[in-house]
Each structure stands twice: as structure tokens, then as C-alpha cells.
Symmetry: C2
Subunit: 250 residues, 2 copies
DNA sequence: CGACCGCTTGATCATAATCAAATTTTGTGG
DNA sequence: CCACAAAATTTGATTATGATCAAGCGGTCG
């Protein structure tokens, strides 16, 4: 892990000059868990958080059925959460980017209800749930923010439910691109030019489509000059056209 | 509301001899919010809860965009939660039966993210969220249980996502019937013989199918002698066959 | 009684799945 | 660095599932 070979990984190289990351100096703290906290409180939150070594692409953070201990904040990289159906197919339930929290589905039964796997080299902050609960009783702001985070997960799932239930393949793919674009914007990255960390299969398993259909939609969007697609590299050429294709007011 | 006209409503007539309902004597308290609480704590919870007059069929509990104030526990009857898409179609995000909690999607933005409407005459308990939050900081059990309820909502939404994404019309309808059946069992009602409170359109808008398809699936299930369908009255004749059709291990 | 609503059934059509194959990209070892 | 194998992606042809369009039935309410 001390190697400094630069991989083909497109993401920023983590700051080397401030290795001792904490919530107070993390550049994600304005969109992550500390969002609503005072400086004093952030220090306490910081105390319970464990920061991971980088995880290699394809590693599991947890698996469906594992005992639930912690929720996780993505520090760098990207992950997918997914469930495996009885007949062995994979339903991707979400993609997670830096600053986003995953694992909250494990709270209800104290067992992870889905698996989480890195899509590229990633690092996460582990937040032991028992400590978070305890701290939440002392810090109403934190409790409220965590309620909000769970509620946000619910509203986002409801958006996906609607997308799967009512929208065409074109609309689903366009909506996913817009979602990734706006999440990039939130992290001050380009909303029009980015690299998809997930495969076409993952996209299909998220949107309820086959790989072939996903690929065809990308081709169609390219032909219409809305998009430039170079393998995983995406450039949105006509954002308005993509919004129109997504058929949502956002 | 002091009238004692009995409607055509199939549900049990609420106990008249104990009008002053509270959480301590509510027959749903073993599956509802008080689940994990001690007697003393139940009394405190009871203090913040407001019980509604019966709501007529078709009345709204809240609408998408309303300011979020409270979550609600169903006391009797049944409700649907739904979102209206930009092009005016309706996505039903859930059906709610006695003992179940709805409205948690409003926490994240302090605005209801969906609408809730009664499917038949119903009564609910209103739980002001600010009071619930405050009480939760004092009662770790309550905080934990509410975290669990939200997490359960998330896992249930993920099941629906998978259903919509991967399963056929037959499988979706069969899965819904099994879900209603097991929720009836939880309330000590018959798991094989019940009345559906929602219309075929509602079922379609929940499962991402048209009315016609829903109706055809019911017909098919009747022809296969798995089910007896008399309008909204359902009798499951061969539960194993329904499980097989649903194609889930549950 | 008649209009309307919810539900069912039938015929046809469209979208995306499936099957099949070519092509590009990636990873690995020499 | 190149060669080769494996994996991922794209494209094409055909098919199947459920949507759409259309009509009829039965019950309810004014």
C-alpha cells in the first residue's frame, strides 16, 4: 500500500501530504455525515469512525446475510449494493459515490440485506452503528441528520421504483446519467464529462434491462449526438436533450 | 362521528366498550411502534400520539408537497401511498394495514414526498415527528426501534425494486397476494381468505402493470384453481401453488 | 331506468428479451 | 512489449410479454 505506482484509475490521487484524514479536514464533510454538526461535535463523531485501507476493485465491504455492525461512508472510489435473487440473478439496488452512506438496510434485522462491492479501488469510513446510536442520543442534530439520511434513502428508492415501473429503456438510462451527473456536480466534478465506474451489466441490473438494451440505448444517444461514449468515458454533449429523453422535470 | 350507522365496510367494528384507546391497551401494540417499550415508556409515547376520527374512504392523510409534521400508524382500515409522475400517471409506493407506519419519506426534506389516501374507512394515530425525535433522545429503545422501522421500509422498497425489475406479471401478482396474506397472519386474521381493499388499478399502479394484465393474471390463477376470486374477495385455495408462481423462497 | 364505474376478455401491436455472432478491451504470461 | 485468452461490449435477427385499443358485462347510484 506504500507503492506509488499510478494505475490507470481515472480518479484523483488521494492527498499524500495530509495522510491523517479526519472528518474535520475531509473535503467531503459538507455533504457527508458531519453536515449539520458543530466543530466540537465533529471531533466526537470522528472518534468513533474507523478509516479503511484502500479496497481493491471487486472486494466486498459486506455480504447479504453478514451480521450488521456498521454503516459506511464512501471516501473515494465507487461501490454498488446488490441483492441476489433466488434464481441467481443480480439486482443492483444502488451505486455509491464519495460522500454517500451505505449499509442502512442492515439495521432492521441486524443482518445485511444486500451486498456491497467496490467498482474500483475505493476507501470507506466505517461507522459502528452502536456508537452512532449512542452518540445520537447525546447529539440531537446527529440523530436528526441520520433520520434524514435514512429518509433520503427511502425517497431515492421510491424514485427508482417509479422509474422501473413506468419508464422506457431510453428514459431509464437517461435518468441514470443525469443522476450521476448531478452527484458529480455536488462533488465539484464535471457534470458533463466523467467516467462510469460500473459495467454495462451493472447498469442493466440496476435499471432492470439487459446489457444489450443498455448498449443499444447508448448507441442511439450517440447517433442523436446527445452523448459521446468512449467505453466507460462519457461526455454529455446536449444536456437538454438528455433531460428530454429522461422525461423528468428535474 | 357519534353516529353508529354500520357501513358496508367488511372490517371489524371498533370496540365500543373501550373508546379511550391508548397504546397500552391497543391490540396492535405488539406489532406497532410500542413494540420494544416498557410499560412506563409506553405511557410517555402515548402522551404525544394523537388519535384521529375515522377517515372516510378516499380521504387524503397528506399530499405530496405538504409540510411534513408527523408520521402515522394505521389503526384500522387501509391506505395507499403514491406519487404522481410528471405525465400524470400514478405510482403506488405501498399499501398500509393496521399496525404499519407511513410517512417516513417526509423526514428528509421536511416535505411529504408522496401522498397517502384511505382505501376504505380508516383510523390512524398521528405521531408528531418533533415529539418523537425528542422522546427518542431520552429513550434509546424507541430511537433504535424507529431506526429499525425506517430500515425495514428500505428493505421492503428493495424487495419491490427487485420485483419490478426482474419478475413477470404472474410473479408480481402472486408476490403481492403472499405479502398481504402474511401481513394478515401477523394480525391474526385469515391468511387464506380476505378482502382486497384496493382496486385493480391500484394493484397495477403498484406492480407496474396495467389493469388488464392484473385482471388476466387473476383469471389465470382461478383457472389453475390456485385462487377463488369474487370481485375483491380472495380465497387462496393452493398456497403452495401461489408460492411457486411467485417464484420466491419465502 | 340509464349512465357510469370497475372489471373482464379479446385482438393487435410495440418494446425489450433472447439468441447468436462479431468486435473491442482487458488482463496475463512469455 | 507482444501474443493470446478471457471478458466486456456492440450489433443483428427473432421472439415473447405485456401494453394498447376495443368492446362487453355487471353492479351501483342518482
Amino acid at each position: 500500500m506504500t507503492s506509488n505506482i499510478t494505475t490507470a484509475d481515472e480518479d484523483f490521487i488521494p492527498c499524500q501530504h495530509e495522510y491523517r484524514v479526519n472528518c474535520g479536514n475531509c473535503r467531503l464533510n459538507s455533504i457527508c455525515l458531519p453536515l449539520t454538526l458543530e466543530d466540537d461535535d465533529i471531533v466526537q463523531l470522528d472518534d468513533i469512525i474507523q478509516r479503511s485501507k484502500p479496497l481493491q476493485k471487486g472486494q466486498h465491504l459486506y455480504r447479504e446475510g453478514d451480521e450488521f455492525q456498521s454503516v459506511y461512508a464512501v471516501r473515494s472510489g465507487a461501490l454498488k449494493a446488490y441483492k441476489t435473487t433466488d434464481d441467481g440473478r443480480e439486482q443492483v439496488t444502488g451505486f455509491y459515490f464519495p460522500g454517500e452512506i451505505l449499509g442502512m438496510d442492515g439495521i432492521s434485522k441486524n443482518v445485511h440485506d444486500s451486498s456491497a462491492k467496490t467498482l474500483e479501488t475505493s476507501a470507506v469510513c466505517e461507522i459502528p452503528f452502536s456508537s452512532l446510536s449512542k452518540l445520537s442520543t447525546l447529539m440531537p442534530n446527529l440523530q436528526h441528520h441520520f433520520f434524514q439520511l435514512m429518509s433520503q434513502r427511502i425517497t431515492e428508492d421510491q424514485v427508482l421504483i417509479t422509474l422501473l415501473s413506468k419508464n422506457s429503456a431510453d428514459e431509464r438510462v437517461a435518468a441514470l446519467l443525469l443522476s450521476i451527473s448531478s452527484r458529480n456536480a455536488r462533488r465539484k466534478l464535471s457534470p458533463t464529462h466523467f467516467r462510469l465506474p460500473m459495467s454495462r451489466v451493472d447498469i442493466g441490473n440496476y435499471l432492470g434491462l439487459t446489457v444489450e438494451t443498455v448498449s443499444r440505448v447508448f448507441s442511439r444517444m450517440q447517433k442523436l449526438e446527445m452523448l459521446r461514449v468512449d467505453n466507460k468515458e462519457i461526455e454529455i454533449l446536449d444536456a437538454q436533450a438528455v433531460r428530454t429523453m429522461a422525461n423528468v422535470s428535474s
